[in-house]
Symmetry: C2
Subunit: 326 residues, 2 copies
């Protein structure tokens, strides 16, 4: 992973499983790369560590650090090891425990991230969007409240609106600064309301996104997430971002379009992968026109993983990102 | 920590808190250094991991690896970090969890130790005396049985005899080989019945100790451990080793002798350190003569830590070990 910033500075904003692929792409393209990650996670190993140790959630941070790690680092694989058994250990990723130990030793979550990055030989920075102890609260399409990132991500109905508690937490200054100084900002792919929007709900982050001279690119998911975005097309995804702080702060939307892309969502493919019905994000002509009408340029491309239609192909997406800034 | 074996090969045998100091001494003196450590531990973090993950106890291994670690290793301090809170995490040393993860990933406890040693830049090898899942069982002075290393170490009466279950486990071949090929073997300091003797109860280890051409040195503890060795003098310590497999396999006993050393144990000093009464190991003339009568040369020296009379001074002990083989 070259550290030579031949292309300037890039920041990937989000959380969850979509961010590491983008980070590896940007670093591989030669960008001086940073990640700005949500601190609203409360599920799994991260959620347990938040509750038991009173720390910020380390999971997304860990995945980003490993994505930026020196490929020869023997620690990267260890960081991703998850205990399969053990009372109180089962489910924990070892890297989360390392970050927890470093946070306690250094007395600072950002310093723990720096130290862990040094151990991994990470070629880039991972920055929490806020250091506040925030929780995520949603209202669904019929007005019912749902509380907690993990519960929102697995709730029944599509989400209409999310907010943080406490509201308007202060941005972590280096995260806002990285966005301000970037040449390229990539949001997503990732869970719309539970990974991307929580970053925008930090006013200092949304403000930095509005003020930066960077090209601001949203990578729309290829498939909807049941209970979070079901029934939403690509334009609905973009509208949700604009409604949650990104208004006037988005230049490009990368939308998956292929021969089989339905005009409207709902024409579900049935997958036999244990995940139930898979609903591609609608990206028909009307949806793309609605996006353009909001002043956001649409880059329509086949970016889906051929073997897993829930995800982007890292390679295809990276070629699109490369082309955007070539 | 120089790797140049200017002095030949040394092996430290034992377990517990005494071993790391000897390892650092031997490596610092220029020996190609290995540790042979007991696998009978069942207390604390090690005991929990044994019970919950079905692995061998990593605690002594971790302490030895850290003692042999490159002093610049940023991981060494992390390995020794102990979680103060957290359901199921509290009490675990992070290095134990790393070794547990490596044991699961590699499918082999010795390979996990090697990998952990590589991560730490360890200048030496740490070898379990056996890979069998052994437990320690004792009979005390009045014939009462006590089971389990941790319970034996904290039982009321002095221990008379210990045995392993299963009895006569196979030695880990590289451990026996290291002893056979050594120029110097140091046993202790350490808990007599719960850290030292468990290694001797592995027949292949006792046999290697009898057959090696190495100078075999026993470093007798400076203070007795309540419930394990109370009332025993230095000759009783030596007798216990000879009775548990070391007969004909001991050349030198390093015994702490200072002006205040009592002729017989029982003249207890009262310490205000929360540890209750401290009982120096008796090392009067009669005790030393009894040791010599068994064909073991006594090296009597002031080796106690001036600030903590329960422990050896690492520096003083190292000078004695250096003199033995100079």
């Amino acid at each position: 992973m070259s550290a030579a910033p031949v292309r300037g500075r890039a920041v990937a904003v989000g959380g969850g499983t979509g961010l590491p692929g983008v980070l590896r792409c940007l670093a591989g393209l030669g960008y001086d790369t940073s990640a700005v990650v949500t601190m609203a996670d409360d599920g799994g190993s991260s959620g347990k560590l938040r509750a038991e140790l009173g720390m910020l959630p380390p999971g997304d941070v860990r995945n980003c650090l490993v994505a930026l790690a020196d490929e020869a680092s023997p620690l990267a694989r260890l960081f991703q090891y998850r205990f399969p058994h053990g009372e109180g250990l089962a489910g924990h990723a070892l890297g989360n425990l390392v970050i927890a130990a470093l946070a306690d030793i250094t007395g600072s979550f950002p310093r723990a991230i720096e130290e862990a990055g040094r151990l991994l030989g990470a070629g880039g920075h991972v920055l929490p969007s806020t250091l506040a102890d925030v929780s995520l609260h949603a209202t669904d399409a019929v007005g019912e409240p749902v509380s907690g990132q993990a519960r929102i991500a697995t709730s029944d109905g599509p989400v209409a609106h999310v907010r943080l508690e406490p509201a308007a937490p202060p941005a972590y200054p280096p995260a806002a600064e990285a966005i301000r100084e970037a040449d390229l900002v990539v949001l997503g792919p990732g869970s719309l309301f539970t990974s991307l929007v929580p970053n925008l709900l930090v006013p200092g982050i949304a403000e930095a996104l509005r003020e930066t001279a960077a090209t601001r690119v949203y990578v729309c998911n290829v498939a909807n997430q049941r209970g979070e975005t079901s029934g939403m097309d690509a334009a609905d995804h973009v509208e949700a971002l604009l409604a949650h702080g990104l208004d006037g702060a988005l230049d490009v939307a990368v939308v998956h379009v292929a021969d089989a892309t339905p005009e409207r969502p709902g024409r579900c493919l049935v997958y036999d992968d244990g995940c139930g019905r898979l609903e591609p994000v609608g990206a028909g002509r009307e949806a793309l026109a609605r996006i353009e009408s909001r002043g956001v340029r649409v880059v329509a491309a086949d970016v889906v993983d051929a073997d897993d239609h829930r995800r982007h192909s890292r390679h295809k997406l990276c070629r699109v990102l490369e082309g955007l800034t070539g």
